[in-house]
């Protein structure tokens, strides 16, 4: 197909047409390659997951302190040790919140961060530019 078109270009006598076609063909090839390599433009599922994680953490930080406080208050009320257990459990609740954040951060490190493809794309662009030069 491409050969036939090149022939017709040669018949018309235009050397420029021939080179132009060749350039177009190589560009097509490059485009196809780049398209094949490129991941999905918007990683919406990953983004939704990340947003869910963020929402989860932000409320969990607050809720765990509150839950710790309520547990401490109830234990105080049961054992009649007015402020001590509540203070202890408030701190424990805060520790729980921090622990949850750290756990989530650890599990997130294993999987690729949302938006990771942005960096690799620019890197690839830089390398192809270097090749051309």
């Amino acid at each position: 197909m491409a050969g036939a078109e090149n022939q017709s270009g040669a018949k018309n006598g235009g050397q420029d047409t021939k080179t132009f076609r060749r350039r177009l063909d190589t560009l097509d090839g490059k485009l196809a390659k780049a398209r094949g390599q490129r991941p999905q433009p918007v990683d919406s599922e990953g983004r939704g997951k990340a947003m869910g994680q963020a929402l989860k953490l932000s409320t969990e930080m607050v809720a765990s302190v509150a839950v710790g406080g309520v547990i401490g208050w109830t234990l105080d009320w049961l054992f009649d040790t007015k402020p001590i257990l509540m203070l202890v459990f408030l701190i424990l609740g805060g520790a729980t919140g921090i622990l949850n954040v750290m756990r989530t951060a650890k599990s997130m490190q294993g999987e690729p961060m949302p938006g990771h493809h942005l960096r690799t794309t620019t890197e690839r662009e830089v390398t192809t530019n270097d090749d051309k030069d």
Binding site: L92, G93, L99
Partner: protein
């Protein structure tokens, strides 16, 4: 347009006006008894909240049944929406719980669709947002919490208690970490319910406050507030979807913990 409707709604309610003639932004959350009823000393009246739950459940059921009444190989628009929502939740369950979690798919699908419908129904002018009441979200979250805990004990027996004992921890720190794990577990229903309720209530209050700004600033300055409201309504629709999604995905994660214990 929605913004204007909200503004009109805020201005319309006779009982919602404060001292300065401004509509009360919290008036929209008031529970009104439609059919007063008392059962065994409890107030079990049919309220506007219950009415909107019924409307939502009926709408959802009618929609799904109508969409799938004659399932075709090449789906039409309504069938596509029903299939997309099915697939969305099915993928969520499969990715987060695994194939053995598909037993619980009907529950999670119902939960997701119910919360989504309630949130979206709340976005309609003149409607009532059921999920802006913590008692509703807490009931949903506690059902999930108790159910998941029961599944955990049913699946692993008394060994489910090992869930609270982290592995690879020095013996001295163990009592402290068990307490922290228990607090972390008990935090689940609280954070699950507070997240949904707080997001819905804050968003709707914001909408109402800016709606009253539109009225208060009048023809000259009201346009800026109106433009903000239009944009904010879009954000609220996103939040309505996202919160339903987060609720369902966290249910999946909790279910996964109960079935597979980390």
């Amino acid at each position: 347009m929605i913004g204007a409707a909200y503004a009109a709604e805020g201005a319309d309610h006779g009982g919602g006006h404060g001292d300065g003639g401004m509509p009360d932004p919290m008036h929209q959350f008031e529970i009104q008894r439609i059919v007063p009823l008392e059962l065994f000393g409890f107030d079990a009246s049919f309220t506007n909240s219950a009415l909107f739950m019924v409307i939502g459940a009926v709408l959802l059921t009618v929609f799904i049944v109508f969409a799938m009444r004659k399932a075709e190989m090449v789906p039409n628009r309504t069938q596509s929406v029903a299939e997309i929502s099915y697939q969305f939740v099915a993928n969520m369950v499969r990715d987060n719980v695994g194939t053995d979690g598909m037993k619980y798919f009907p529950f999670i699908f119902t939960l997701f669709m119910f919360v989504l419908t309630m949130n979206m129904l709340g976005m309609m002018p003149y409607s009532f947002t059921v999920t802006s009441h913590i008692i509703v979200t807490l009931a949903l979250a506690l059902f999930v919490f108790v159910g998941v805990t029961l599944i955990g004990f049913w699946k692993h027996g008394i060994g489910f208690l090992k869930f609270f004992v982290p592995s690879g921890v020095p013996f001295v720190l163990l009592p402290l970490l068990v307490v922290i794990e228990v607090i972390s577990y008990l935090t689940r229903p609280v954070s699950l319910s507070v997240r949904l309720f707080a997001n819905m209530m804050a968003g709707h209050t914001m909408l109402k406050v800016f709606g009253s700004f539109v009225v208060a600033l009048g023809l000259i300055g009201g346009w800026a507030a109106l433009a903000f409201m239009v944009a904010f309504t879009g954000l609220e629709i996103l939040v309505a979807f996202l919160q339903a999604y987060v609720f369902a995905i966290l249910t999946c994660i909790y279910l996964n913990d109960a079935l597979h214990m980390h």
